[in-house]
Amino acid sequence: MLSPSDWSAVWLTFKLASLTTLILLLIGTPLAWHLARTRRWWKAPLSAVVALPIVLPPTVLGFYLLITMGPKGPIGQLTSALGWGTLPFTFTGLLVASVFYSLPFVVQPIQNAFETLDMRLMEAASTLRAKPLDAFFSVALPMARPGFLTACILGFAHTVGEFGVVLMIGGNIPDKTRVVSVQIYDHVESMEYAQAHWLAGGMVVFSFIVLLLMYTLNRGIRMSKI
């Protein structure tokens, strides 16, 4: 069965994934709206930057984060100057890394939802004297609900499954940076296969349920619209 250190890793992973998803919703929504609406020249480069974590191996991200957040790197020097110390080996460091890592998984579904939005509805809202922000919250957001659901689930699940980045900047510290994926790796490397199976099997079941939920709910929303 799961040991106390396994449970601690599970809780830490849950905390990391929840906070990452929350931050990404706050950053990702305006970003997705901008990307869906803008026709300026920077649309393509900005989209490419957002999509980078999909194609880059986690070791690349982890390696550069380790350098830029370290004492000689620009982010590291900034955080040190602010009196926060450096970010690697801390939970905050993992959080920053996860936000980078899961960015496209949150931005892209929301952007897709915004792009398929019928703009005539927004125009109708504004002829009824809704301010742009009001129209956004009462028309655009509810219409884009399936996109947000997908974004939340993918952002959360992708952070739970993160491995290379947390291995490279986490430092494997119990209760602080040792998440489930690293704990499983440790079990396997120490040939504690039984413990590895409990956690790894749990991860498979969890991921399946999450994805099943996403596909079922999204289908439900689409059906109710028709």
């Binding site: 380790l66 350098i67 957040m69 370290g70 004492p71 000689k72 110390g85 450096t86 690697p88 080996f89 291995l167 490279m168 900047i169 430092g171 494997n172 510290i173 790796y185 440790d186 490397e189 120490s190």
Partner: protein
């Protein structure tokens, strides 16, 4: 059809004779020995004409790959436990295992003058992070924990430990400055008997169990003359000179057959 069979037969004969005369050997090597092996490999080629193809990785990972049929013929491990397990699993030739070198543990910092030559920096404890390879899986990590135990510092230092997956990652933590210091291998921080950068304390050998590094002939290489030649070459003076220049200690002459 007959022609097809004949061609196949001819090809089979051609391949079997080719492997009998093979002058290429597939080597699995622990990451910490990659650099010296490259140098040894080029001298070996000059001396014997045999080529080596090197795959580097963590010892435990290479073990799993070999057990699952990886085509390696020689295994140069970072410990003596893993080659022994391969012998027991009948994946390696029993009488071929030998210790080619001993690893040397050091406390290293990328900052000049940070680590003193007696290791007092550990007792002062003014650092935030001490990097160490996972003691559960890496011999250097285990040795580092033994040293802290000897110094009576385990309880004080444990909250400051950051654990690398192996000594290569541990070295990364220290070299990027994210950890002020860490337990790494002398071979990582020195070349040609000189410290490459930063400051170092070479931990006295009596403070930890010897880090014997063994090599073994794998079953897949037992008919390859080049594989045997490489293992012999590792015991020779040319190879040993390269190993000492990287900070490895040599096994006593009696131990080399």
């Amino acid at each position: 059809m007959k022609l097809f069979k004949q061609t196949l037969l001819a090809a089979a004969i051609a391949f079997s004779t080719a492997s009998a005369w093979a002058d290429e050997v597939q080597v699995a090597v622990a990451s910490n020995f990659t650099k010296p092996l490259e140098e040894i490999g080029s001298k070996f080629k000059a001396a014997t004409g045999h080529d080596i193809k090197v795959s580097a990785g963590a010892t435990g990972k290479l073990y799993a790959q070999i057990e699952n049929g990886a085509p390696f013929e020689v295994f140069i491990s970072a410990d003596s436990k893993t080659p022994k397990k391969l012998v027991e699993a009948k994946q390696a030739e029993a009488d071929s295992q030998f210790t080619y070198a001993f690893g040397t543990l050091v406390v290293w910092s990328s900052k000049e003058g940070y680590v003193d030559d007696k290791g007092d920096v550990l007792k002062k404890g003014e650092f935030q992070h001490l990097a160490i390879a996972n003691p559960k899986t890496a011999p250097y990590g285990e040795a580092g924990m033994a040293v802290m135990e000897k110094l009576g510092l385990t309880a004080a230092i444990t909250p400051k430990l950051v654990t690398g997956e192996n000594i290569t990652q541990t070295y990364d933590f220290v070299s990027t400055g994210n950890a002020e210091l860490g337990f790494v291998a002398l071979s990582q921080v020195s070349k040609a008997n000189k410290l490459k950068s930063g400051s170092v304390w070479v931990v006295p050998q009596e403070m930890y169990k010897p880090l014997a590094q063994d090599a073994v002939l794998l079953t897949k290489g037992k008919d390859n003359a080049a594989a045997k030649a490489l293992l012999d070459y590792l015991k020779g003076e040319d190879a040993q000179a390269i190993m000492t220049s990287y900070g490895y200690a040599l096994p006593k002459k009696a131990e080399v057959k």
